[in-house]
């Protein structure tokens, strides 16, 4: 259907796919990449085309006025235009990019990757831009220092392990008339937690458990014993059968074992769709951590014992992030 709605994509998508395939052959994925001529592309920018237009106009001026100095200027600019791409290229070639790591993020937020850029030669590098288009990305210079770490962020929408698209590194140094760029795949993978969505206050004591952990509470639906009837007991709990058998009036005592620890349980959120459930659990997790209450997580596949602290939180959030996607 989407093809019908947007017929242009019908044409561009295969093209884009072919481009991606070609790129992945030409510039394979790796955590550490050295830029060289086989990865870099270079073309004039719009300003560069404007520069060409000025050269044309100057040539016309020189020709019509038969003015050799105007010619000289024209040719000088032509030569500069020829020399420029070499400089632009030199600004990027030989740079080494290395993925240092990624920080996890919440869906709907920006995920960040730390990347180290270093040069092995002495040439100063300037105005290098790293980004995931269409994001603005980050700019950096390598002048005095030979290596620099930068953080680049990308918006993430879906939870789970998200493979980042190819990173774009580009430079328009020195005059902005040429753009040298490369699309590199640093094998950046983000761990994206679900988007926290408020699900009300923390679900204290809401979990009934089969185990023997926790404290016993009266009430509930597990029959535990008969006890002598006392006035005030609910008439519905009177053991009428026994009474009928000619014994005293007993009252049935019900109890349930309740875990007093805070369990963020999948089952608590029955009736909502998977993603919302995960989002709500995520929200609770953050709240509990903020309030300093030990909490555990129970998913259909995983259970994490209650605890507190950053590493525990990370474990919980990771479990939420990696919960199997619906339908997959």
């Amino acid at each position: 259907m989407s093809v019908l709605r947007n017929p242009a994509r019908f044409l561009t998508d295969p093209l884009r796919g072919a481009m991606q395939r070609w790129l992945s052959r030409r510039a394979p994925r790796s955590r550490s990449i050295t830029l060289n001529h086989s990865r870099l592309f270079i073309l004039p920018t719009r300003a560069g085309l404007g520069f060409l237009l000025v050269i044309m106009l100057l040539w016309l001026l020189g020709t019509n006025y038969e003015n050799n100095l105007v010619f000289a200027l024209t040719f000088l600019l032509v030569s500069v235009f020829v020399v420029l791409p070499v400089h632009t290229f030199a600004n990027l070639t030989g740079l080494r990019l290395q993925l240092l790591g990624t920080s996890p993020a919440f869906a709907g937020d920006f995920a960040e990757a730390q990347i180290n850029i270093s040069r092995e030669d002495k040439r100063e590098r300037e105005w290098i831009r790293l980004c995931w288009p269409p994001e603005e990305g980050a700019y950096l210079d390598l002048c005095a220092q030979a290596s620099e770490d930068i953080r680049i962020s990308m918006p993430v929408v879906e939870r789970g392990r998200v493979q980042a698209p190819r990173l774009r590194i580009e430079s328009r140094f020195p005059l902005g008339l040429f753009r040298c760029w490369s699309r590199i795949d640093l094998d950046v993978e983000f761990l994206v937690y679900p988007r926290p969505i408020s699900a009300g206050p923390l679900p204290f004591g809401g979990v009934q458990t089969e185990g023997d952990f926790g404290e016993v509470r009266h009430g509930g639906d597990d029959f535990s014993a008969l006890k002598a009837y006392q006035p005030g007991d609910s008439l519905r709990h009177v053991a009428w059968k026994q009474y009928a058998a000619g014994r005293d009036l007993y009252s049935k005592d019900y109890e349930c074992r309740t875990d007093v620890r805070l369990w963020l349980d999948w089952a608590l959120l029955d009736g909502r769709d998977v993603e919302t459930r995960l989002s709500n659990l995520c929200y609770w997790c953050l709240q509990a951590e903020k309030q300093g209450i030990a909490y555990g997580l129970r998913l259909p596949s995983v259970a994490i014992e209650p605890s507190l602290g950053p590493s525990h939180q990370r474990e919980v959030l990771q479990a939420l992030a990696l919960f199997p996607k619906w339908g997959s």
Partner: protein, 303 residues
């Protein structure tokens, strides 16, 4: 060389069943003149390991049980006034031994801890303004209860750094445990152990560690590893130059134990968890997890 090593390992292995790797690590630690920290629950055989090591290598052995009311003098020794001679006599503390088992070091107060650690670092003891050299070789095996246990004073990072390695013995394998049940009392077996080498041989082995070759390729790998710990966002604190040196020394000893005159990347990988585990810390989990990730991420071959 290889014969001696395997004999030592099998001797100790007869008392400490199924812990060949830890024994070798302890041996490597001793050969590279470092100190060993064993972190484990009580009853896992820490004492046995220390005692057996001392026995097999023919070294004097003392054991100190650290408690919270211990004073530095209880370890270092104390000068006592002798009324007959009218002089002070120095009574050597347990630190004056070749193998010292400092049991449950984290139960004592920081003051006592640091007294021992200073002695470890400088191989000498200063009491009452007099400096006394410790016997050589001097090898401390400290044990530490897991930090979660109550009544402990955690060793600060700067003190942890004094230990070349930190290992944990862990539960024995099923076969080893079964053999344990069936076998005789380890203590009796311990008494049966004979020294396998003399002091001179040990010294020679220690000096041989320094002669193990390290190629450029290997140093590059080491450099990459260290750099990665410093750059990676996972690690809050990277390996210090001392940590890097310790790693290299331990790897050399490990290579020597395996009868090799040069260090291989697997030597580094083998000692890395015990050498770097207690030196690294960060957001991405505890030191062991960091080390595991480190090994996975850093390429052995230069790119």
């Amino acid at each position: 060389m290889q014969k001696i090593v395997s004999a030592i390992v099998s001797d100790i292995g007869s008392v400490l069943l199924g812990k060949e790797r830890q024994v070798k690590l302890a041996l490597a630690c001793l050969l590279s003149k470092g100190h060993l920290l064993i972190e484990d629950l009580p009853g896992m055989g820490k004492t046995t390991l220390a005692h057996a090591l001392a026995q097999v290598l023919g070294l004097s052995y003392k054991r100190v049980q650290f408690t919270s009311d211990m004073l530095p003098a209880d370890i270092l020794g104390v000068s006592i006034f002798d009324r007959e001679s009218g002089q002070f006599h120095f009574h050597e503390g347990p630190v004056f031994s070749q193998v010292l088992l400092a049991d449950e070091i984290n139960r004592s107060s920081p003051k006592t801890q640091s007294a021992l650690l200073e002695a470890m670092e400088e191989c000498q003891v200063s009491v009452d303004g007099e400096t006394r050299l410790l016997p050589q070789p001097f090898f401390v095996i400290a044990t530490q209860n897991p930090l979660q246990q109550s009544g402990t004073f955690a060793l600060p990072e700067s003190q942890l750094d004094r230990f070349l390695m930190r290992i944990s013995l862990g539960y024995p394998t099923r076969e080893a445990e079964r053999a344990l049940y069936l076998g005789t009392d380890p203590r009796q077996q311990l008494a049966k152990l004979k020294p396998r080498i003399d002091l001179a041989t040990l010294r020679k082995m220690q000096s041989l560690v320094g002669q193990v070759k390290t190629s450029d390729s290997l140093l590059n790998y080491l450099e990459r590893l260290v750099l990665h710990t410093r750059q990676s966002p996972d690690c809050a604190v990277g390996l210090s130059p001392r940590g890097a040196l310790a790693l290299l020394r331990a790897a050399k000893a490990w290579a020597l134990l395996h009868n090799r005159g040069h260090v291989l990347p697997e030597d580094i990988q083998a000692v890395l968890p015990s050498v770097a585990g207690h030196r690294l810390q960060g957001e991405g989990g505890n030191g062991d997890q960091l080390v595991e990730r480190l090994v996975r991420q850093v390429d052995i071959i230069a790119a």
